[in-house]
């Protein structure tokens, strides 16, 4: 592996894509809500880094004028501002997710997303006044459509 391949840009981009990949992997593989939230946080971190890297030039200086000296080449301030915004948005949503997680766990007693989905389905069905479909039931027996019942009557006649 030559060092040409491993120049600064490549390493940084690898970090960004790597973080995103690991984040997505976490979301996909895991069922535990906290793990999924961690995954989203990692994904966001990777996206932020990617955004920041988008116009990064090696050798630029920070976009700040210190003591009135204007540097020859300054880093692009736009992605920095964007990432700043994105980070704050991220933390807002993270706080929201955690609050919801606390509340959901208090209601359902679990953070396993499969469990949560099941309980949610149960709750929706209870509220609507219908039976919860279970996977073992045969499809045709669950609901009799009018068309179906017509057919049955007809075959009896």
């Amino acid at each position: 592996m030559s060092m040409e391949f491993l120049d600064g840009n490549t390493i940084l981009y690898s970090a960004a894509f790597g973080l995103m990949l690991i984040g997505i992997g976490g979301i996909v593989i895991s069922n535990h809500l906290m793990r999924i939230i961690f995954g989203i946080a990692l994904l966001e971190a990777g996206a932020n880094l990617l955004l920041l890297l988008s116009t990064y030039h090696e050798g630029a200086s920070a976009p700040i004028i210190v003591d009135g000296i204007i540097p020859a080449m300054m880093a692009d301030p736009v992605p920095q501002a964007l990432v700043l915004t994105a980070i704050v948005i991220g933390v807002g949503i993270l706080a929201l997710a955690l609050s919801l997680a606390i509340r959901v766990q208090r209601a359902y007693g679990t953070l396993d997303m499969r469990e949560v989905r099941l309980r949610l389905e149960q709750e929706i069905c209870d509220e609507a006044g219908i039976e919860m479909p279970s996977s073992s039931e045969k499809p045709a027996e669950v609901i009799k459509t009018p068309v179906n019942s017509v057919v049955q009557q007809e075959s009896g006649s």
């Binding site: 736009v78 700043l84 980070i87």
Partner: protein
Amino acid sequence: MRRFTAALFLIGLGVMIAAIYQHMDFSNTALNAGQAINSVAAQETGAANFVTSVVLAYRGIDTLLELTILFTAAMIGGMVLGKRRVDAPRDPDAGFILRTGADLLFPLLLVVGLYIILHGHLTPGGGFQGGVILASAFFLPLLARPGSSINQDVISIVEGLAGATFILIGLLAMSEGYEFLSPLFDKGELGALISAGSLPVLYLAVGIKVGSELAGLLAHLAEAEAVD
């Protein structure tokens, strides 16, 4: 099976990223808006920190929206977590060191936070970073004394007013015939503390708003009832 498919997809994703990678040109960003900003920001806004210029002036509306997101998140957090029951169990009391430390740190954090906010247009840092420090300043005593609580009413007033200030400054610009959120006031001397027109005022509003909202969110989370 689940893990197997997941692995398969991950491999696929990796291939995709590799493909993008191959087609990505890492250095083709000769033209960009950022460089244009760099060349005019000093005259247009008068802030030495160009990131601050972008955050508060060029993309001020983004910042306003971002504050609104925090505001909304804090509000929803309060709504979701609800009011604590009086008889709910509390965390055990913190030790002497934490309490004393919190008392000592509080003024220090307050000062540091405000300093960072007010120098946002000159040096790295600003309303967000300072706001976080302010929030932790107010939150530390809460950690130290689990019985106490932050007055959410005060927080809601403060954050409401701070957010309104931001918008009102924008409307002020409109009343003077500029566009919404145009920089106002005298630009001052580049690099001086009192410079960059209305940006420091905006950043102060941002700082206070971020501080109060994050403190509110933290307090909500801290006050949420624990599961046994």
